[in-house]
């Protein structure tokens, strides 16, 4: 029976495998990956002054991984990020669902912002969260503006819906002024 199994399903299965392994890997089970959050270099904060180094594969892992994004979503709620960023819509802190990034919109730049804190209220989370958690948060923050693969994010959280579903959000282009090339 299996020999006559629809070939298209096989092909789809293979595709799902390639995407799926990456998307669904449960990273927390193992030791944290050796991927410290980099300090933000002036290049990445003030774009145009030079070329930022490409995003490392370890960092890229987080923004393609459903578990990392989901954990980030949970941390975003429990660490009270909404207090300032209000479900990504902005309040005291800048909005996160738009395409505007004050300190860069790449995952390593966002992680650096979380780690170091930024003037005007953004606290530093260094030592308060593990590096892994900061990567997870950064991955989730990127998902708010549709920057991560749609199949890895959840449509909504089990909370008040202040924004359209993340699986439906338009992918916001990164403004060239905000960061170096992807």
């Amino acid at each position: 029976m299996s020999s006559r199994f629809p070939a298209s399903l096989c092909a789809l299965g293979l595709m799902a495998c390639l995407a799926g392994c990456h998307r669904e890997a449960r990273q927390d089970w193992s030791k944290p990956r050796a991927d410290a959050v980099p300090a933000a270099s002036p290049d990445t904060i003030f774009p145009g002054n030079g070329r930022a180094a490409p995003v490392t594969t370890a960092a890229a892992f987080y923004e393609h991984n459903a578990h990392a994004i989901a954990r980030g979503q949970q941390l975003f709620a429990t660490m009270n990020c909404s207090g300032c960023h209000s479900h990504g819509g902005g309040g005291m802190g800048p909005a996160l669902i738009d395409d505007k990034w004050v300190y860069g919109g790449r995952i390593d730049q966002i992680a650096a912002s979380i780690m170091e804190g930024r003037p005007n209220g953004m606290p530093s989370w260094q030592g308060k969260l593990t590096d892994q958690q900061m990567w997870q948060l950064a991955a989730y923050v990127r998902s708010l503006s549709g920057q991560v693969p749609k199949d890895a994010v959840s449509a909504r959280a089990d909370e008040l819906s202040n924004t359209p579903p993340q699986t439906q959000t338009e992918r916001e282009p990164l403004r060239p002024a905000d960061s170096a090339q992807q």
Partner: protein, 205 residues
């Protein structure tokens, strides 16, 4: 079977088609109508289940849907029963010419209904992701739209088929008859949904 059977009755004189419950496909259509009817009933049950948690329905600050497009849709739907009945009668009277003449009407009405349905989605005043009220309203409307779509495709294909020599065949008239029956199901099932989408959210504000 061992040995020669004893031949009791000759069935070669029996007809090779029949309308209504004597036809095999009629039972198939009824089966699918029951399935889809159960789906509607359960969706409506879910609607009331969600509604029972609320003090007001539609829950403020959401406005109830604007009923203009929906009412127009309902009117067209009810009027469509006139050509539909005529088709059904013509099919049962083996009047192929009448069937061929009338089917385009149903197809055209279907197109009109799609346009109106588009306006309906636009007049709900709530998005499916806003809250469960919005979700269930959208679900009801979407579920019914799939029925409009399937029967519209069915009618269009039937129209095309009836214009071929196949149309002369009595069994195709049985098909036409059953298509008309299904259209009745589509508009009958719309009536409670229309009420639930447009009027219940007004009554409980």
């Amino acid at each position: 079977m061992t040995g020669r059977p004893s031949f009791v009755e000759d069935v070669s004189k029996l007809p090779t088609h029949a309308f209504s419950y004597r036809s095999l496909t009629w039972w198939g259509i009824i089966g699918f109508m029951v399935i889809e009817g159960s789906a509607f009933v359960l969706t409506i049950a879910a609607y009331f289940f969600l509604m029972s948690h609320e003090k007001q329905w539609a829950p403020p600050p959401w406005e109830p849907p604007n009923p203009v497009a929906g009412t127009l849709f309902t009117a067209v739907m009810l009027l469509s029963e006139i050509p539909n009945s005529m088709i059904k009668k013509a099919a049962e009277a083996y009047d192929v010419a009448a069937v061929r003449r009338l089917l385009p009407w149903i197809v055209a009405i279907g197109v009109l209904l799609f346009v109106l349905r588009g306006f309906e989605f636009n007049s709900l005043n709530v998005k499916w992701y806003d809250n469960a009220y919005g979700s269930i309203i959208w679900a009801l409307l979407l579920l019914h739209t799939t029925h409009i779509a399937t029967d519209w495709v069915d009618s269009a294909v039937l129209w095309r088929l009836m214009r071929t020599p196949h149309g002369e065949e009595p069994r195709r008239l049985v098909d036409t008859d059953e298509n008309a029956l299904y259209w009745r199901f589509v508009w009958l099932s719309w009536l409670p949904i229309y009420f639930l989408i447009y009027w219940v959210p007004r009554m409980f504000r």
